[in-house]
Symmetry: C2
Subunit: 639 residues, 2 copies
Amino acid sequence: MKVERKLSPVCWKNVKVVDHFWTLRRETNRTATLPHEYELNKKSGVITAYQWDWWDPARGKAPWRIWVGDIGKWVEAVSYTLATDPDPTLADLAASVVREVLKGQKEDGYLYSNPLPRQWRWTNLQEYHELYDVGHAIEGAVAYYEATGRRDFLDAMCRCADLLDANFGPEEGKIRGYDGHPEIELALVKLYRATGNKRYLNLAKFYVDERGREPNYFAREKEEAKKRGIPLMGWMDTYEYVQAHKPLREQQDAVGHAVRALYLYSGAADVAAETGDTELLATCRRLWRSLTRRRMYVIGGVGSTARGEAFTFDYDLPNETAYAETCANIALVFFAHRMLQIEADSEYADVMERALYNGVLSGVSLDGKRFFYANHLTVYPQAAKGAHDHVAASRQDWFGCACCPPNIARLIASIGQYVYSTSKDELYVHLYVGGSAECSVAGEKVVIRQETQYPWDGLVKLTVEPEAPSRFALALRIPGWCRGAKLEVNGKAVGLRGVTRKGYAVLRRVWERGDRIELVLPMPVERIEAHPAVRMDCGKVALQRGPIVYCLEELDNGPHLADIFLPRSSKLTAEYRPKLLGGVVVIRGKAKRRETTGWRDRLYSPERTKTRTVDILAVPYCVWANRKPGEMIVWIRGD
Amino acid sequence: MKVERKLSPVCWKNVKVVDHFWTLRRETNRTATLPHEYELNKKSGVITAYQWDWWDPARGKAPWRIWVGDIGKWVEAVSYTLATDPDPTLADLAASVVREVLKGQKEDGYLYSNPLPRQWRWTNLQEYHELYDVGHAIEGAVAYYEATGRRDFLDAMCRCADLLDANFGPEEGKIRGYDGHPEIELALVKLYRATGNKRYLNLAKFYVDERGREPNYFAREKEEAKKRGIPLMGWMDTYEYVQAHKPLREQQDAVGHAVRALYLYSGAADVAAETGDTELLATCRRLWRSLTRRRMYVIGGVGSTARGEAFTFDYDLPNETAYAETCANIALVFFAHRMLQIEADSEYADVMERALYNGVLSGVSLDGKRFFYANHLTVYPQAAKGAHDHVAASRQDWFGCACCPPNIARLIASIGQYVYSTSKDELYVHLYVGGSAECSVAGEKVVIRQETQYPWDGLVKLTVEPEAPSRFALALRIPGWCRGAKLEVNGKAVGLRGVTRKGYAVLRRVWERGDRIELVLPMPVERIEAHPAVRMDCGKVALQRGPIVYCLEELDNGPHLADIFLPRSSKLTAEYRPKLLGGVVVIRGKAKRRETTGWRDRLYSPERTKTRTVDILAVPYCVWANRKPGEMIVWIRGD
């Protein structure tokens, strides 16, 4: 049996996002983040570095090996923005950046941050990120082409992909290697979809399948490099780290560097979708379960340790030393989105939403210029001063290895594409985002509109407007966090139980212009528990309302947050604060905490300490650290 | 006003320890640990390494720079043992080891693990441990002399100290430096006490006072070393790490490498006691408070992080990544013991006892041959596999940098000296240990005897036997952990309130042979809380009974220990198990834990999980990890 990709996302170009929540972020992205990143890239020499022939120490610091990747992501982000929010200044910048990038391309199509002499090309795939760079450049080129219709970048990247195709593959005389940092796989599938050139798909499949085979390519490569005097960094030198410890199809658990893992799984899902490879799809499902059922933070973050920015083991989710890199959380969205198209199961959309509204958005400040690379779930500022593993108590500015900033920029710019999908005769709504989309269903052009204050309110009013009355299914996601959803079509209640399939309420009928759907998703404040094996969260609850996970900040709740105890009997109320943090719903309630006064100078005591009742105020995790620095916790002690 | 040292410890030679608890450990120490360490030292070349003139790579691995220190501690441990438990085999081994060590001493008295060419001596004091080695050798020599009456080692170490005295000091032409690893300071005071040579005391005082002065000696030293091409390791290169960031008298908090800190404070306390320096004593008190009131684990462990085996900041006491190095916990005993002699305040004895019965003894297995260097308070074996900072799930064998094994051996061998102190007309009992001691009080020879099952039972029967009726004060420590102690003298109740001074019940009277004292120290199981600022322990309790801190092991309680919840209403009972772990009191009770069955594949859930009641069994922390490896926790969730 072959896989058939069930859904296709409605392209970002055809989706209008007009709600307050995302508009705020998209505007900040367009007016602050993207110009800011351009300036910093320019200042750091990122835009022109790879035009050199080879790094010459006299020119200063060597170009960082992921710089083409960063530029690719930036062009991609700008492209999405241009299509929906035309901006001549950004358009000019993008055109000039593309010109600069293309100046760096060698005659035969080769492109890399720090171009290698021809005889050294592809000789240290494990460490150099040569194909990673090409992958991001391809993603940028495809988006740029789709947004502007300009083929210059796309054609150039096709030449680059052709060069890879000529040099990599199972055929005699070609390199049977793959990149240490997956990315090229998913990019080649994008390029295949944009150009129809099946060689790109085949090459992607080759990279996915070759990875981790015995004899291990990286082992052979390293031996060869040593012989030839090619510089080795010897950095994080395990095959698990690069997911090459065994063939992907034999891998049972999500391991190693989390961004690499998720990019690889995303590419594998793409290949499975395009080739109909059921075994590969089963692999993706298995790794998805490992990821999301045993190795994911409640904020939709992955990668528990700063050591190798990596996965550790089942249920090992330390809060204070969490890594949960913004790039990894974004990559989780990518993987979820791909699996969702294949399986049309809301489980994927649930995780996608969880990551988007929490662990992804936390990566950027409200002013769009400061970034969390690691997303901790507990922060004690003193602990961020070197005492423990990689703890940052506040967002930092863009820096040399600036993988996360353009990654978050491209995601925010393309948020529209995550909202809807279609199949032949179905229109899926995955996310509730005010705005509209144009798509084609059952041969008919259909406009769908959403009116909602989501994520702050669970009332969603939808209208569908087919050009002519048309029979198709409208499938509305009933979020996994929601209990007691209610649905009406044209004022008439629809029993959800009867129509729900894989988490979607499927309304199959003849739709006419002006049909109104009203979905009510009750949003009480929920106390979330983690599985008893998550040792860090035992006896604790996370507050969640709708898709939003909350946290306590010291500014609102005083110091020693770990001591706050939230009894189940405490009534929690939600309250919209239009002027706070860009407009958010906060959660308020009564909690208890111990008095510290009686302790004087003691550190341990057999006497029970008196507690007092205090007011607590929780804010959405995604906007924490936008005010005065201080402590923060997601998991609150509770009974 | 000058400090006057109030008390002097009754020498280990004059104390008989006959109770089950310590006899078991002393016998294991004598028959297993000490011979085992000898064999391993011999095999590793530790005993003869420093007889070389200079390390020659052709001879193999360079001698490790603390090896003389390790040998010094071993000789010290054997010496204590020989005096109380004669053992001809050990005596011969010790004599031969001393001979070998002395062969390594250079003509002018110089002794170091890896002897430096003359022009390189004392040129990298920050890193090389040259004076640290001398310090431990001096401690070994003094103990060896006191135990055996043999002067060979002592005389040799006097020559070594004389060499230091000729080369270090404030005088023109001498080196104004000090060792990166304090130890020489306290050793020189010991040598002064053994020989009466005041130059040694003065040199100790110089080292204490010079440390951290500006311009910083280590900064100057490093510059000079770079110029001269002297190898620098560049390891843990901060002045806080070596307590040289400012003069000791200006230091407010316990910082840096914990063993270094505690050895330095011990030496400073010695100097203060001998010189009557009240400012220095005030410094010791201040650092004591920093240590014990804000930076000490409930097991009497110090140094919260493996990074630099160091202190971090106030109330930062992570359990799973605790370092609490066995050597640091031992050094805490040293410092406490010194402060106790000066101030006769039970606060010091309380900490000394806490460390001894918990974080020190946990360092060695019951068979005496395996060691914890780090003493975690939470262990999840999977986390010990590299995912996080330096977590060991089971004791390891002796290894190259074997600082802890001989340190614990010398402490166990000398336990007697911690039990009693005297002043002119006072006899202090600090610890309750079955056995007897001979001492001199108020000019009279007095024998004191204790009968007790301590630490398992709080009934202590004491008798005093002066040669003739004699007026003096018998001061009995009322432990800080104890509430409701009761005291009788010759069957007659004594009101504690009236006689208690600084935590000691002071019984001043004419004592006659046969006077009987009965002290009852009730030992209910206590639920100990940590200060609310200790974020890791909020909502948790540690079980303590008498001086013993307990823990839960997976073997007795199943996996996922973090989920166990111990309600305050649960009755906890203590039960002696003669065959378990060498004979221990265990604690039993009912607790609750969540069912994992209902979770199936979920990681987070808004539904409250059902709990079930379970039996728990806690064992003394000091004997954990002597059975099947598994999880362990000290802090248990409680209300």
